[in-house]
């Protein structure tokens, strides 16, 4: 008997139909060929609203295969609501194995963090991006920002950083610090903390960015120059936790979350939940290293 396998599942593998997947795939190849350039794409409807991680989800579902091991984090945590729901969705639509372990995963989706452990050449990390346009804060019209990117005219961006320095004595960009990719495009790295920015530079991993609401995707290939915007005399700095330290492990050389207690007191804890677990269990970890972290280490953390 001929078995009907086509209609045994209600949904196509990885939810999105093949025609739309192919469109996203074609755009991804172009995005990789032009590092940092935002490519418009279809942003098909998903069972969650645009702006809740659909951009990341589109890319994940367009590249995922049956053999992939999937991990998803939200602000470093495997257990937050956004991560849990998207993980379950991807798992149900693909049957892929999911994991919390950063080293075991082959495909990682993330909201607003890069893992504390260094990612390898075999892994791909997909970012959920709320605002892909780094120039939006200095220019409100899309047709003008498009032209500014086309002409590599980033003067306004530098002026805004300068003004921030003059007003506040520091460049006040906390999350989503603008970066220059491959010496050509200024790119929003999605709202990752400054701590993570240097890890984009000359990395081993392919970084893919999806902004579902704004319908843009872009990419940073491995071994690509990614430099935070800075001035000769006013430099980019990462967060310094040398006066805090994780309250569970005492560890200082990681991005820490600040937790407020009911009595107004506060404490810090490692933001990357898998990294925290590994530190608690005294497992071996291989962290990113960069000159900014090394600098902090010079203070003997």
């Amino acid at each position: 008997m001929i078995e009907n396998t086509k209609y045994t599942n209600k949904y196509n593998f990885a939810f999105i139909d093949e025609a739309t997947k192919k469109e996203i795939r074609r755009k991804l190849l172009k995005a990789v060929a032009i590092p940092g350039h935002q490519v418009p794409y279809s942003s098909p409807e998903m069972p969650i609203s645009r702006g809740w991680g659909t951009g990341g989800l589109h890319i994940t579902l367009a590249v995922i295969g049956r053999e992939d091991v999937f991990k998803i984090i939200d602000q470093g945590s495997d257990a937050s609501v956004n991560a849990c729901n998207l993980r379950e969705f991807v798992n149900r639509m693909t049957g892929c194995k999911t994991t919390f372990d950063t080293t075991e995963a082959t495909l990682i989706q993330t909201r607003h963090r890069i893992t504390e452990e260094e990612l390898t050449e075999k892994q791909i990390i997909v970012f959920q991006v709320p605002l892909p346009e780094p120039l939006r804060m200095v220019e409100r019209y899309e047709y003008k920002t498009l032209q500014m990117h086309a002409e590599a005219d980033y003067a306004k961006m530098y002026v805004s950083l300068y003004e921030s320095y003059v007003r506040h004595g520091a460049i006040m960009e906390g999350a989503g610090y603008p970066v220059m990719v491959n010496g050509r495009y200024v790119m929003s790295p999605s709202p990752i903390p400054r701590w993570d920015i240097p890890n984009l530079n000359q990395a081993k991993t392919l970084f893919l960015f999806g902004a579902g609401r704004e319908k843009r995707l872009y990419a940073v290939p491995p071994y690509t120059d990614v430099e935070p915007l800075e001035f000769e005399d006013v430099n980019f700095e990462i967060e310094d936790f040398s006066n805090s330290g994780c309250y569970k492990t005492g560890y200082k050389k990681a991005f820490l979350d600040e937790i407020y207690a009911d009595d107004g007191g506060r404490k810090f804890v490692i933001s990357d939940s898998n990294f925290l677990d590994k530190k608690m269990e005294r497992q071996e970890t291989r962290q990113y290293s960069n000159k900014y972290i090394d600098q902090l280490q010079a203070y003997d953390l």
Binding site: K30, I64, A219
Partner: protein, 202 residues
């Protein structure tokens, strides 16, 4: 003509796309498509056909530069539903071995605002190799995706095609991306962001 029975449009397409994505993000890395039982017509190697299957559908189009390309056009139409169009509007352009780049100046290079709105070349070669070969082109690459410098040896690619590519990509981000396929199912990518040099080996 019948569509290929030995091709899974969901899982094979995904697997092959992942290899293309890996190749495009790591120029100089040679990836190999798993062996397949598809039988493309003469003038189209298996890796090029699989690349076409992974990327083409009715929303996109292609151009074939081979003379008398109706067999290939029929084959791609039946399997992907993509139509052959004029070279000046084509998204994908299939090139035979040793193509000298003539006539490709009409191919789209994108616009300053939308540089991605450009053609991708899928060029056939005899052999792509990571070890030195005689009588071949030695291509040395650096740029995004390459850790320091990468070297590959390619047989069956005309130096004029690479000259053409350099010329088109000189106004980066405008430009053309190249996918090279060979008879052993290998695939190699040269995205426009890559800065390469080549020499002929004896």
């Amino acid at each position: 003509m019948q569509p290929e029975l030995h091709y899974n449009t969901v899982f094979d397409a995904q697997q092959h796309f992942r290899l293309l994505l890996d190749s495009m993000s790591r120029p100089g890395k040679i990836n190999t498509f798993p062996s397949s039982n598809i039988l493309p017509p003469a003038g189209l190697n298996q890796a090029a056909a699989l690349t076409g299957f992974a990327l083409l559908n009715a929303d996109t189009n292609y151009h074939i530069t081979v003379q008398n390309s109706t067999d290939i056009a029929d084959y791609l139409l039946v399997n992907t539903a993509a139509q052959q169009v004029d070279i000046a509007v084509a998204d994908y352009i299939f090139l035979p071995e040793n193509h000298d780049g003539r006539g490709l100046h009409e191919a789209r290079v994108g616009t300053p605002v939308y540089p991605e709105d450009s053609a991708t070349l899928i060029a056939a070669a005899q052999v792509i190799s990571a070890v030195a070969m005689t009588d071949s082109l030695k291509i040395t690459m650096n740029g995004p995706g390459v850790n320091g410098e990468a070297t590959v040896w390619v047989k069956g690619i005309n130096p004029d095609l690479l000259n053409y590519l350099k010329e088109q990509n000189s106004e980066y981000p405008l430009g053309i991306d190249l996918i090279i396929t060979d008879g052993q199912n290998n695939v190699l990518c040269l995205p426009r962001s890559n800065r390469f040099t080549y020499t002929q080996t004896n």
